[in-house]
Symmetry: C2
């Protein structure tokens, strides 16, 4: 019996199942750094610490011990199914005639741990290893570029080592090319315990702030920083009343009385900037509760303030939104009753017009 | 103090940190299904079970209780940072003037659990939710298509519900379009405890075998099934001697004596199929140990058998490989000493020539 066990990044993040399986094992096999992490649990067991490069030897040894009738724990950091020992063990065990029972104990992988340290940066995401020991750089580049273009959040494993810097440089270039120099990147450095987190912009991502024990998380086009936390809004519906001035505007809008483009007749023009489009004088998505576009709560007042959010008055946004909004709204009340449909339209527009470049 | 806690899919997959934080909390808030999962741990606490749609109410209530000085645990299944409660809590807490301390406890997310149940399907991967309640279908489709094109493994959250079938149909179509009807998909159904796993081909993925408690994992171009497990090879170096006939072939190869294309003069032609290219009569990657291309171990004999692996004799593969192999090999011994470089070349060629379509 081989238990393939992820022990998480530290004891707090070890699962109850992993703990029990380790306690019930006769033989513990793993890279020495991970074995040291569980030393207090295994003093009565046969312990085999091997170096980082000896993965094959570790897997073969686990199989041998299992075939001798021992219960073996093969230890990975994080989750053994995420760039850990599970794949290689399954590849190697197929050599053997005899049945070897394998159970994989999943764990808290580095990306889950890093995400929790940083705040809540994940939504749809990709996890990509920059190790090019057995993976061609062309493959790594293709994955990075398509994942970033897809607007997935991208978690990076094995970002750099003393001898392997080329994939990191390639990664940075891909982020700059596709996301731009202001893209947000969280760095969680596990050489510290607990790990130390930093948030930088892509332009400030230098080799001296990253090492092989770091996990990186690149935000998507909507990710923002709030009180030192990296947040990707998931979106949610906030129930609220329609402001009388908004009511008034959308009554005119529905009657076809709102012109397209800047409204230079208006006493308040330009309330945001010269050239702004005024089709949506009041925001049809208000309150969105999404700081990605510059709005924020007035703290303690339960009022959403969007004075610093201007994308809704940009030509591109208005041209994208005008027709669908006309189709969605049959009545001013629809601003409340069709909120989910409106929020989806808002998101589609944001991803099309890329608010981070505004 | 709000602990945002992922309790994993079952008790075995709960972390020690989550257990401790729950024990130390005064108030436990969560969706009723998740609360029921930890009922034995919380009998002395104030418990607030809310329905699935009440996420905002749960977050607001947690903040209220925390502001009253209570220690609160806000419970998510899996990992709260992966389509869980962390994002929405951070969005909502920004309304409040007062400091609310938040700690996120990461957990074993559905994709980690599903991967362990299925075998070892993950390598570089993406996780995408098919929930289109607040996400436009166009965004979901773009992410799916680019992730599949990137040859990422793709884990699917929220695949279907009784009223939401359109994203699932879109997903299946994307897989068929990009990966083809034989693409392998693992389904892990958590309506059972322990969850029940199934592996199907894309063409056999029907709505009746998937429900809202399923996690799906779509393999990449190299994923294969071995003894009912879904495996994506990570690759590893197998040390081995060079066979005398291979030695002989590559001596000729290095002397420029191996012709390009089919070798109809050979007594054994066609050893695989009529029209095969014979430039690499013996495999320069042998033994690759990678069943993705049809090779397998002769069980119990420590011999890698590649009689069913033929991609190396295809015109496209040979034309891709001939020049780089000529550049890599300066000496026959390089078949051993440059194994990593050769394996990277093999992988680049496989991804270019797509062995699943062979």
């Amino acid at each position: 019996m081989i238990n393939v066990i992820g022990i998480g990044q530290n004891r707090e993040n070890m699962t109850l199942g992993a703990l029990k399986a380790i306690e019930e094992s006769d033989v513990i096999i793993g890279y020495k750094k991970y074995i040291n992490q569980i030393e207090d649990l295994i003093s009565d067991k046969e312990i085999v610490k091997k170096g980082m490069g000896d993965e094959i030897a570790r897997a073969e040894f686990a199989i041998q011990k299992s075939l001798e009738g021992q219960t073996v724990s093969l230890i990975s950091s994080g989750d053994p199914g995420v760039f850990g020992m599970a794949n290689v063990l399954y590849q190697i065990v197929s050599k053997y005639d005899d049945d070897v029972e394998i159970k994989v104990y999943p764990g808290v992988s580095a990306l889950n741990y890093a995400s929790a340290k940083l705040g809540a940066p994940l939504h749809d995401f990709a996890a990509i290893s920059l190790s090019n020991i057995l993976t061609p750089l062309s493959e790594i580049e293709k994955k990075l570029r398509l994942a970033l273009e897809a607007n997935l959040i991208v978690a990076i494993y094995n970002p750099i080592s003393k001898t392997r810097k080329e994939p990191f440089r390639l990664f940075k270039q891909c982020v700059l090319d596709i996301k731009g120099e202001d893209a947000l990147i969280g760095i969680v450095d596990s050489t510290y315990e607990p790990a130390k987190e930093t948030i930088v912009k892509a332009k400030d991502l230098t080799e001296d702030i990253v090492n092989m024990s770091c996990t990186l998380i690149v935000g998507n086009d909507l990710t923002y920083v709030q009180d030192d936390k990296l947040i990707t809004p998931r979106g949610y519906v906030i129930r609220s009343k329609i402001h009388p001035l908004s009511q008034n505007h959308y009554e005119k809008f529905l009657n076809g009385e709102v012109a397209h483009g800047p409204n230079r007749e208006c006493d308040f023009y330009p309330c945001h900037y010269e050239g702004q489009y005024c089709d949506f004088c009041y925001c049809p998505f208000y309150p969105c509760g999404d700081s990605a576009t510059g709005g924020e709560w007035i703290k303690g007042k339960n009022v959403w303030n969007c004075k610093d959010c201007t994308w809704l008055h940009d030509k591109d946004s208005v041209e994208y939104l005008r027709e669908p909004i006309e189709n969605i709204l049959e009545d001013v009340e629809d601003l409340k009753t069709k909120k989910k449909t409106l929020l989806k339209l808002r998101k589609a527009c944001l991803l099309k017009t890329n608010p981070n470049n505004l």
